[in-house]
């Protein structure tokens, strides 16, 4: 990547208020050419507001938005959305119901000569594989087909950046996987710069080159999927990407005491401070014999490769979720557990 090239998108201290509540505060972010950035967070965290600000359909915000090194929204400047060269795929696809599939895709090409526009439409139809839908209107298309038309329409004017707002959330679970894979391989092939919004942690991990985790309108952590999943820097991040067992603990002499024994790596805090320790379901060794401690199986969920067990432990109020590839006999009730303590993560409570 050319270092001297300015980022495709640069956000600098962007904020947005609705009345008294701040939907976004002090969001700064750079997106380089060809990068796929995933904004993720619970609903209401401000991620969709941020997309609207980037696209220019929401002009009422603080801070600066720059594209290709030029300010498009700042204290004294505002470029209307139609002049920003952004593509937008909406959650509801927002296909024009009065236009056929082809004319939807051609909607953003009115600046081109007719033949050129037709060629571009045909090319996009080929890319997303919807040639068999020629002449259909949006209401005659299935959800997956509508999603592909929306994608083709947004990409047809060759925007500098593509914004996608929960583009897969309206699809059935089975279909979603397929459409997501197809969409991403197309975006990679076209080297499109993308900002995609989702509330689904798994989707975020599988989609983005870089993940931006938002909480109540602020960025809490940015990094690769591995960074966020393996090295969460806050309780919020740990809990968002989920699956952890949380233990209450206390700092004593630089180590953490919990009902499941002691852990290293206490966060810098004073003696006696309360701490939460997070343990993944796969961070336990399970045995039919003795372990560090004993647990009683209260629920089992067989997932194929692994099995998830819900195990009650006497010293804990909430049962532990434990994943194992071992096959535990169905009539087995009491098992031994050993914690791989190095994999634990701790945060101040």
């Amino acid at each position: 990547m050319d270092i001297n090239q300015p980022p495709v998108l640069e956000l600098d201290g962007v904020g947005r208020r609705f009345g008294r509540t701040a939907a976004l505060s002090d969001v700064s972010l750079c997106v380089s050419a060809g990068e796929i950035v995933c904004l993720v967070g619970h609903s209401g965290c401000g991620k969709s507001s941020l997309l609207r600000i980037i696209s220019g359909v929401d002009p009422d915000h603080q801070g600066r938005v720059a594209m290709a090194g030029r300010t498009v929204a700042g204290p004294s400047v505002f470029v209307e959305p139609e002049a920003r060269s952004v593509g937008f795929v909406f959650q509801d696809y927002a296909l024009f119901p009065h236009l056929s599939m082809e004319r939807n895709i051609a909607f953003g090409l009115s600046h081109l000569p007719r033949a050129e526009a037709d060629r571009r439409v045909a090319e996009m139809i080929g890319h997303v594989g919807i040639g068999h839908l020629a002449g259909r209107y949006p209401h005659m298309l299935s959800g997956g087909e509508q999603q592909r038309v929306a994608l083709a329409r947004a990409l047809a004017p060759q925007p500098a950046i593509l914004l996608m707002d929960e583009p897969f959330s309206n699809l059935d679970r089975g279909l979603r996987e397929q459409v997501r894979t197809d969409t991403l391989s197309l975006l990679r092939r076209l080297a499109t710069t993308v900002v995609i919004v989702t509330h689904d942690p798994e989707e975020a991990l599988s989609v983005g080159d870089r993940i931006v985790l938002l909480q109540s309108g602020r960025i809490v952590q940015t990094g690769s999927g591995y960074d966020l999943y393996d090295r969460p820097q806050s309780r919020y991040a740990a809990e968002f990407f989920g699956g952890f067992n949380a233990l209450a603990g206390t700092c004593r002499n630089g180590i953490i005491e919990t009902p499941l024994g002691t852990f290293e790596g206490a966060p810098a805090s004073q003696e006696g401070a309360s701490v939460r320790v997070y343990l993944r379901p796969q961070s336990f060794e399970i045995s039919e014999g003795e372990g560090e401690f004993q647990g009683r199986i209260v629920g089992r969920q067989f997932l194929g490769e692994v099995e998830q067990l819900v195990i009650g432990v006497e010293t804990l109020q909430a049962p532990l979720r434990v994943r194992t590839m071992r096959r535990i006999p169905r009539d087995r009730e009491v098992v031994g557990l050993t914690v791989r303590r190095a994999e634990a993560i701790a945060f101040a409570a």
């Binding site: 609207r52 696209s55 220019g56 359909v57 002009p59 594209m67 030029r70 498009v72 204290p75 004294s76 400047v77 505002f78 470029v79 209307e80 959305p81 139609e82 002049a83 920003r84 060269s85 952004v86 593509g87 937008f88 909406f90 959650q91 509801d92 927002a94 024009f96 119901p97 009065h98 909607f107 953003g108 090409l109 009115s110 600046h111 329409r153 947004a154 004017p157 060759q158 925007p159 500098a160 914004l163």
Partner: protein, 573 residues
């Protein structure tokens, strides 16, 4: 607008899109408001002694007459409309489907036409009284005659049967959407069939009845022809005579203000009658009609046919017969053809202007939501509530002033008279129509736009269209059906309109409605039946549309709801 290489047309931060729309919407609101403000200003200019004169001579009697009329019409419209609605929703009998749309037909019969028709039908020498005398064996009207239809009673009955559909429509809709669960529940509680109507269905439908009655009464207040023909001197009639025969504009304005007070009272009454009503129908099955036995079924059918017979079939048949015999006698005169053309030209011009302004007002609400556009919308659509005479007197004041100013300016600058630009050209009639009926296209477009998701606007913007381009290529095509339905209703209302046309038409310009009025006032029976029949045929268009669609593209109800409660909410959404 080159999309791949963005043109960095940066605009100052303060200038947001859509400002032009907001300005235009505010101008439309001002246009509607101006005649009402002028009315107030003119009324207070009349001297106190003058006002005292009006207040002691004309007002008390006219006000009392108007209130009696409203009470009577309200009672009849409410009972006929509610009964008819219950009949076709709670019972199943042969002819029920036909009846449920045929009950709408009196909507096509303007009040002045129904009165005109019954003057002849019930004339002592007319068909009905003749038949009764034949049956009873009397030889001449001197020996036996029915009470004169030219009376308060006659007026109340005729208006009641002409206006009950305003109650029938919302009440029927309410009965239809009512969950039958409630009625079933009351059944298990041992409530009899008759009591279920009185104790469950009717109280639940009260808001709908209140809305319908208030609409019917507004029509009754607006009426000038029926009251005049039947000799009932209401406020509306007094305004007309005060201006036409005594050329007393301040006096007319004062009575018009009194009339406006009655409207405000009516609106307040309606709100009171709907107070704290927010019934969510519990979903589930809708009301299932109960099958009636063969004899009961025929009885119910006949019961349902009575309002249609009185409110539509009898006068319509009379008009067809009278128009046909006139046609055989003299054909269609060039004069009547010219009047038909005038009617269509005036109505079409007003429809075009109203549709355009309605678009502006509703679209401003969409692209610049907020208190400013919400108020513009609200004020631009208040004309629905003002009777035609009130709007006309207000317009007369405003446009009279404008005409005098233009004429003086022409004298000053060009040395020649401009004449009466507005009042002399028919433009005044068009503007009055627009002010009165703007609420119809505005409400229709607003409802149409509300169904278009906001993401379509954003999609269009990010695909390179500006606010105006988005309007032409997305909003207009998608709200076109709603706009067309609204325009049809405006056109028909303009064709039917009588009071404002009477007051504002230029000398020697007649429309179908004023022709009919003139003949009825003179007591001549020439081509009036043809003119009336033409109006009724045109007025049946929206009724047919309504019967086909099955829902009411309501003249007033939808936009009014919008204005009352939904306006701000719609703006916020």
């Amino acid at each position: 607008m080159a999309a791949p290489a963005p043109s960095w047309r940066a605009t100052p931060r303060a200038r947001k899109g859509g400002a032009a729309w907001l300005t235009a919407a505010s101008a439309a609101a001002l246009f509607v408001l101006l005649p009402l403000l002028a009315l107030v200003s003119e009324a207070v200019q009349g001297s106190a002694a003058h006002l005292a004169g009006i207040a002691t001579t004309i007002l008390p009697a006219a006000l009392w007459t108007t209130l009696v009329l409203l009470a009577g019409v309200g009672a009849i419209a409410a009972s006929v409309g509610t009964t008819a609605a219950w009949l076709v929703t709670a019972h199943d009998f042969p002819g029920r489907r036909m009846l449920s749309w045929a009950l709408l037909l009196p909507l096509a019969m303007p009040t002045y036409i129904i009165a005109y028709a019954y003057l002849d039908i019930l004339h002592p020498l007319g068909p009905v009284q003749g038949l009764i005398r034949d049956l009873l064996g009397y030889a001449s009207p001197r020996e036996f005659r029915l009470p004169d239809v030219r009376s308060m009673t006659g007026c109340v009955v005729l208006l009641g049967f002409a206006l009950y559909p305003y109650v029938y429509i919302p009440t029927r809709a309410m009965f239809l959407t009512q969950s039958s669960g409630l009625l079933d529940a009351s059944r298990t509680l041992g409530v009899s069939a008759r009591a279920r109507f009185w104790r469950v269905a009717l109280p639940l439908a009260r808001p709908a009845v209140a809305v319908g009655v208030s609409l019917a009464l507004m029509e009754a207040l607006n009426d000038i022809g029926a009251a005049e023909f039947l000799g009932v001197r209401t406020l509306t009639v007094s305004i007309y005579t005060t201006w036409i025969t005594r050329t007393d504009l301040p006096g007319a304005a004062q009575i018009a203000l009194a009339l406006l007070m009655v409207v405000v009272l009516l609106v307040a009454l309606e709100r009171w009658a709907r107070r704290s009503q927010r019934f969510a129908s519990g979903g589930g099955r809708t009301l299932q009609p109960r099958k009636a036995g063969p004899f009961a079924g025929i009885g119910l059918l006949i019961l349902g046919l009575i309002p249609i017979l009185i409110g539509f079939a009898a006068p319509a048949l009379y008009l067809v017969q009278a128009a046909w015999s006139r046609y055989q006698f003299a054909g269609v005169s060039a004069r009547l053809a010219g009047e038909a053309l005038n009617t269509i030209l005036l109505a079409a011009s007003a429809t075009a202007v109203a549709a355009a302004l309605g678009l502006v007002v509703a679209y401003a609400l969409r692209i610049r939501p907020g208190p400013h556009s919400a108020w513009a919308y609200r004020l631009a659509t208040v004309g629905y509530a003002a009777p035609g005479t009130v709007i006309a007197i207000g317009m007369l004041i405003v446009l009279g002033l404008a005409d005098r100013t233009i004429d003086a300016a022409a004298h000053h600058w060009f040395g020649s008279a401009a004449g009466l630009v507005f009042l002399g050209s028919g433009a005044a009639v068009v503007l009055a129509y627009v002010a009165r009926f703007l609420t119809i296209p505005a409400g229709a477009v607003e409802a149409g736009l509300a169904r278009i998701p906001l993401s379509l606007d954003q999609a269009s913007r990010t695909l390179g269209r500006g606010a105006t381009g988005t309007f032409w290529q997305v909003h207009l095509p998608l709200s076109a059906p709603a706009l067309a339905a609204g325009a049809l209703l405006v056109f028909v209302d303009c064709v039917k309109e009588l009071p404002a046309t009477l007051l504002l038409r230029p000398l020697n310009v007649e429309t179908l409605a004023t022709h009919l009025y003139g003949e009825a006032a003179r007591g001549t029976y020439e081509e009036a039946a043809m003119a009336a029949l033409a109006i009724v045929v045109i007025a049946m268009l929206p009724v047919v549309l309504l019967a086909r669609v099955g829902v009411m593209p309501n003249r007033h109800a939808a936009p009014r709801q919008e204005v009352r409660s939904g306006g701000a909410a719609a703006a916020a959404a």
